[in-house]
């Protein structure tokens, strides 16, 4: 099958100078020339339209135990006040049924924005099978997950014993491979476990109350393991002190703590707060921006706050518990899980009139606008924590349209307007920059091959948008979406199913890690810790295949 898209403007984050207005989809690949001896099967003449690669969301909570609990907690909580009559003509644009929607709605709504690959950033090892099962049932999307380490008691105990780094690295290799992950996530290193021992806060050099190890030593060891294994994506870190005034100090210290400074900071907006100003809560975005702008080993996703009802969910039980009085409606779920991590789930409503919420919104904007290279700052709301992912078109418009941005800013708490420098940031993102932060940047950060770009030979995950000055309308309503060369979506209608990939980590030489579970002392340690053998929860290849699914390895870093 060959499809020709003609009359188009090509927007690519890598080859930004492409002058061609024709693009061929040859089977599942992109080409700029018609292969010899072949003819075009379908042609779409699309003047006035722009073409992007499929969007990639590298941090969105779409599958796993805590997501399912959030669905349960928020069932029947949809706020119909936001539903407007205009959706009668385009029902696919109406608000989600729930801030943590079911798998079917998740897949559908991502494709209806032009996204084709999404990554669950916090798979509890013991819950990885469920995470993958939910992602399997999320239609049209390629998916992957990051395995949650750094609060697993086996690791803490070994670090306390001072075992050799090679033993840690082998263990990490096993945990990544056995749980079919494509990266490592650390959430509040050591802090989730410390909370189980009634510790209510934990800074970077604060020793664990039982094991004595510090978050710094945990981060150091895991980042070294990630480097030694050649994982494409660096350690994906949710820092200590989530959401706390003054947390910028520990955030910057975290960057310094990791091996060779190679790190991805998750939902960075929640981690760059100062403690100055009239409310003891201020923006420290500029300090983090300085670090990002001067280090090519540091990437972030923002975790932008969007106003309205959502549900926050995190493995960081310590800080979710500390925020329980802010839950709206007033209810919350907390779990201490499997000697590996925990979870906290709180319904939450971000309000424009509230000082802290308004400042969080402005800090997210500052990060986007001050960081120079959009290949290293990625567009996320940490779905659903900052707001549901369906807010992305609105967020893109905020970045591309200064006047629109200011129209929101003007509605914020007076002290936010008085203290924030946002009004002075007149930058407006270009379409190419949007392509970088939503396509080629995340693809590069995750080591995905042939994705996030429209270069010849790339994967034919292609999105066609009508070129419109109202960027929210444009990015919220693509004209066509192709998955692997198959037209799956056209003007509100789904036409075809498509094959799906589960993306897992390609690793350099990790033979000793893959056989980790067969070493008697490791088996015994695992059995003692968990009460069952290590194979119990390990995921076999056949579980990720079938029903049109297959496995793809990302590229190990050199």
């Amino acid at each position: 099958m060959i499809t020709l898209l003609s009359g188009i403007q090509i927007i690519d984050g890598i080859a930004s100078s492409t002058s061609s207005n024709r693009l061929y989809l040859v089977e599942d690949r992109i080409a700029y020339e018609l292969p010899a001896g072949r003819r075009v099967d379908a042609e779409y003449s699309l003047p006035g339209h722009v073409v992007f690669a499929g969007g990639i969301d590298l941090h969105t909570h779409i599958g796993g135990g805590k997501v399912n609990l959030a669905r349960l907690l928020m069932a029947q909580q949809t706020d119909q006040r936001d539903v407007r009559r205009e959706y009668d003509t385009k029902p696919w644009l109406q608000p989600l049924s729930c801030p943590a929607p079911n798998t079917w709605e998740t897949g559908r709504r991502y494709v209806q924005m032009g996204y084709t690959a999404c990554f669950e950033p916090a798979m509890l090892p013991a819950g990885a099978r469920q995470s993958h099962a939910e992602m399997r049932d999320t239609p049209w999307l390629d998916t992957g997950g990051y395995v949650l380490l750094g609060n697993d008691r086996m690791l803490l105990e070994w670090l306390a014993q001072g075992v050799p780094q090679s033993q840690i690295t082998d263990y990490v290799a096993w945990m990544v491979a056995a749980h079919a992950a494509c990266a490592i996530k650390v959430v509040n290193a050591g802090g989730i476990d410390a909370f189980k021992f009634n510790e209510r806060s934990m800074d970077l050099d604060h020793p664990h109350p039982v094991y004595g190890v510090t978050p710094r030593s945990i981060l150091r060891s895991l980042s070294t393991a990630a480097r030694e294994l050649g994982l494409a994506h660096p350690l994906h870190v949710h820092c200590s002190n989530l959401g706390m005034a003054g947390n910028i100090r520990s955030t910057l210290a975290t960057i310094d703590a990791v091996d060779e400074g190679r790190i991805h900071l998750a939902h960075a907006q929640y981690h760059c707060y100062g403690d100055e100003g009239p409310h003891g809560f201020s923006s420290a975005a500029a300090q983090l921006v300085d670090r990002v702008n001067t280090s090519d080993r540091l990437t972030i996703d923002v975790g932008q706050v969007l106003f309205g009802q959502t549900v926050t969910l995190s493995a960081d039980t310590m800080h979710q518990y500390a925020n329980r009085q802010h839950a709206s409606p007033r209810k919350a779920i907390f779990q201490d899980l499997e000697c590996q991590a925990g979870c906290g789930i709180l319904p939450f409503r971000y309000r424009q009139s509230q000082y802290v919420h308004g400042l969080q919104w402005a800090i997210g904007m500052e990060l986007f606008l001050r960081i120079e290279d959009p290949m290293r700052v990625f567009l996320t709301t940490d779905h659903p924590n900052g707001g549901p992912f369906t807010g992305y078109p609105h967020l893109i418009r905020l970045l591309m349209d200064y006047e629109f941005r200011m129209s929101i800013f003007e509605q914020l708490h007076p002290d936010v307007k008085r203290t924030s420098s946002l009004a002075s940031l007149r930058r407006e993102y270009s379409l190419h920059e949007i392509a970088k932060m939503t396509r080629s940047g995340p693809a590069a950060a995750l080591g995905l091959q042939g994705r996030g770009t429209l270069q010849a030979g790339g994967l034919a995950d292609v999105v066609v948008y009508r070129n419109d000055r109202n960027y929210e309308a444009m990015f919220g309503d693509p004209v066509m979406v192709f998955r692997r060369g198959i037209l799956v979506y056209r003007r509100g209608e789904f036409l075809n199913d498509c094959p799906k990939m589960t993306i897992v980590a390609g690793m350099r030489d990790s033979d000793s890690g893959r056989g980790w579970h067969r070493v008697k002392k490791h088996r015994d340690a695992w059995q003692k810790q968990y009460g069952y053998t290590p194979e119990k929860l390990a995921i076999a290849n056949d579980e990720l295949q079938g029903e049109g699914r297959s496995i793809e390895e990302n590229r190990p870093s050199p």
Partner: protein, 405 residues
């Protein structure tokens, strides 16, 4: 990528990760009492012949049953669904045909859900409770151990920690906890009044009605796990009791650490799958592809009641009974006389004119199936190496064939 296929197994009779013990050829010595009991029941059932899908379709009039299903005006999907694959197929079938879906006897599940949706919860998983607890409070009675005989062993680690058994426990049941290595104190008490009694003991460190050790244990415990099984509580409106218990746990977490381990059976898979596929845990009526959630109106038993009340018009209704257990069809279902398709490994004892039965393999026997552990935290693949193997289509196969146009 992964080389982990060896030695994976799960007891598909209960909701614990029971690993078969090595070196025991005889089931009686290898497995727990529940497993032995249920294996005996399976063995006593008439043996099923090995049949292919086409042989069953021909011999059991599949086409007629499917036509009846497709033409019905009102449809119910219910039964005892235990595995993830079957639950997925059941939800798809219900969605495809605008049916109501609800597990049979899901009252306890929905009481727990009602409490959680109203006010949240503080929970701890099995492995965490085993590793971290300095005090375990178990609320219930012997019935809990009859259903989950290995629960004390699963919660036991090397250290001897106190277990407070509250409710109605026999000496034999207490003995099981002692044998598992716990320091046991059993207090016979009315479960319904427990939240208040626990609060008093914690505040006063000593209660007029309870052993002074209770207050002492509560004061000293760094991490307390409170274990109950909602289906074994045995009184109406358990959701309100759960609210009160969770309030006690929440208060305790202000100064100490504490979590509830609410233990259920294998039915957790259906609730989980329903939730991720539809956003709701069950008790759904699909209309035009959309799920309408009503935990009161859309229960299976109310559907049967309403259908029976239709009298002669009930012939336009049909139910699918999906069974992955070793139990018989409930009397309530049999007495309804409603046209029914039964999919499961066991032939219904009663027959009526509009009953169709499609024999299937028991999930987790011979073929892989995924189950949820009783705390619903861990999804595990089960393939029973010593099950009773019969070459028959799986339950999910039948549901998919019914879904196909």
């Amino acid at each position: 990528m992964n080389d982990v296929n060896d030695n994976r197994s799960l007891c598909s009779f209960c909701s614990l990760l029971c690993e078969p013990l090595d070196g025991h050829a005889d089931f009686g010595e290898t497995f727990c009492s529940r497993r032995n009991r249920e294996l005996d029941r399976l063995r006593s059932a008439p043996p099923l012949p090995a049949l292919s899908v086409s042989e069953v379709e021909k011999g059991f009039e599949f086409a007629g049953a499917r036509t009846r299903w497709q033409k019905a005006q009102r449809r119910l999907v219910t039964g005892r669904i235990r595995s993830v694959e079957t639950a997925r197929s059941a939800v798809r079938l219900a969605q495809c045909y605008g049916a109501t879906i609800d597990l049979w006897e899901s009252e306890a599940t929905f009481e727990s859900i009602a409490s959680m949706q109203r006010s949240g919860s503080y929970a701890v998983s099995l492995t965490e409770a085993r590793d971290l607890s300095t005090l375990i409070i178990v609320i219930g009675s012997d019935a809990m151990l009859e259903d989950y005989p290995r629960l004390p062993i699963a919660l036991s680690k090397a250290e001897r920690i106190p277990v407070l058994l509250l409710g109605d426990w026999s000496d034999r049941a207490c003995g099981a906890w002692v044998e598992a290595g716990f320091d046991v104190l059993a207090i016979s008490t009315e479960i319904e009044h427990l939240p208040r009694s626990l609060a008093q003991s914690f505040v006063a460190a000593q209660s007029m009605e309870w052993d002074s050790r209770v207050g002492d244990w509560l004061q000293r415990s760094r991490y307390t796990s409170v274990v109950w099984s909602t289906q074994h509580l045995g009184f109406l409106h358990a959701d309100l009791w759960i609210d009160s218990m969770q309030q006690w746990i929440a208060t305790r977490n202000e100064t100490h650490r504490c979590g509830a381990m609410v233990w259920g059976g294998l039915e957790g898979a259906c609730q989980q799958v329903c939730t991720w596929l539809t956003g709701f845990p069950g008790r759904i009526q699909f209309r035009d592809g959309h799920a309408e959630y009503d935990p009161y109106r859309h229960s299976a038993s109310r559907w049967l009641e309403r259908t029976r009340s239709l009298g002669r018009e009930s012939v336009d209704s049909i139910a699918i009974w999906i069974d992955e257990s070793s139990d018989d069809l409930p009397n309530e279902v049999i007495e309804s006389g409603i046209p029914m398709i039964v999919v499961g490994p066991k032939a219904p004892h009663s027959r009526w004119e509009t009953l169709h039965w499609f024999p299937s393999q028991r999930s987790g026997f011979g073929a892989n199936a995924d189950f949820f552990r009783g705390d619903q935290v861990v999804q595990v693949r089960g393939c029973d190496p010593q099950g009773i193997l019969v070459e028959l289509p799986s339950v999910a196969t039948w549901l998919r064939r019914l879904t196909a146009p």
